[in-house]
């Protein structure tokens, strides 16, 4: 079983947010972890808005939430955590988030191979049937306790 699954919410927050400066900058809040699934919130904040008049979150923080959750979702299926690096990330922005609303992101591991994993994620502002954005991401999986090649993306 993945060691991540035995973590308390505080430990998960430390692993996913406190030690990752940009996630901390965005104020991500980890909510829940299970096998193949991560749930987290991006609370609304004025400095993260994309449009002053509409008062809605910018696409950038939503993209970051999707990327960071996808990258960790595969770890919930591994007995030994491995370092992952995003190879590609596709995000469809379906509509703006609601005025003054944060978004919640949920993930699903589609495929887990030896070197690659493919994850889907969905971001919504209250109704998962009416998403704000959907993402598909592919990650490289590095061997446990082996340093990744110098050129590898993070």
């Amino acid at each position: 079983m993945s060691p991540l699954l035995s973590w308390s919410p505080a430990e998960l927050q430390q692993f996913m947010v406190t030690r990752i400066p940009f996630n901390e900058f965005l104020g991500l809040k980890m909510v829940r972890i299970a096998r193949g699934e991560l749930l987290a919130d991006l609370p609304f904040a004025a400095h993260l808005t994309g449009d002053v008049d509409a008062n809605c979150l910018h696409e950038g923080p939503i993209t970051t939430l999707l990327d960071t959750l996808c990258g960790t979702a595969a770890l919930t299926l591994m007995d030994e955590p491995r370092r992952t690096a995003t190879l590609d990330l596709r995000v469809d922005f379906l509509r703006s988030a609601g005025a003054g609303l944060g978004v919640r992101c949920e993930t699903q591991v589609i495929s887990l191979g030896e070197h690659l994993t493919t994850i889907r994620a969905i971001a919504h502002d209250g109704d998962i049937g009416h998403p704000v954005a959907i993402a598909t991401a592919t990650f490289a999986l590095f061997a446990p306790s082996v340093s990744p090649p110098a050129g590898a993306a993070s």
């Binding site: 990752i20 993260l48 923080p61 190879l87 993070s154």
Partner: protein, 139 residues
């Protein structure tokens, strides 16, 4: 090459009205010819302190904003155009330096536009990340 309708400083004024773009300190410049969108290094955009490397989400944000700025420069107007999809490829680890985005308009019609974005850093000529960004244009 599509003619520019806005100067870099006019593009900058539009970027500065977006709180998230301002919070990252992103700037527009065309002193060397093409429009260059710069994400200045700051500790808050790091994604992995151990590598260390910038966060892929910060790079994706820069790629979307670079495409928006480029399209705005050629279409004119006072609002950033709406991105409906971004497909980003992460090619190398982004080191703890400024990151510079440039974009090319691949195609543009009355309703849609497709731009290709590349990100580079001062210490290397190699592309660290690239993206295709698609837009739905306002009537």
């Amino acid at each position: 090459m599509t003619a520019a309708r806005l100067t870099a400083s006019e593009v900058q004024q539009v970027l500065d009205r977006v709180p998230f773009i301002r919070s990252l300190g992103i700037t527009a410049d065309d002193a060397d010819g093409p429009l260059v969108i710069r994400l200045p290094y700051m500790p808050g955009i790091v994604g992995n302190p151990r590598v260390p490397a910038l966060h892929g989400g910060a790079l994706a944000s820069l790629m979307g904003i670079t495409a928006q700025a480029k399209l705005l420069r050629v279409t004119g107007g006072d609002r950033l155009p709406r991105v409906f999809s971004i497909t980003a490829e992460y090619l190398r680890s982004a080191v703890l330096e400024d990151t510079l985005g440039t974009a090319t308009v691949i195609t543009r019609s009355r309703r849609f536009a497709n731009l290709r974005v590349e990100l580079r850093q001062p210490s290397s000529d190699r592309v660290v990340a690239a993206a295709t960004v698609q837009f739905l244009l306002a009537e």
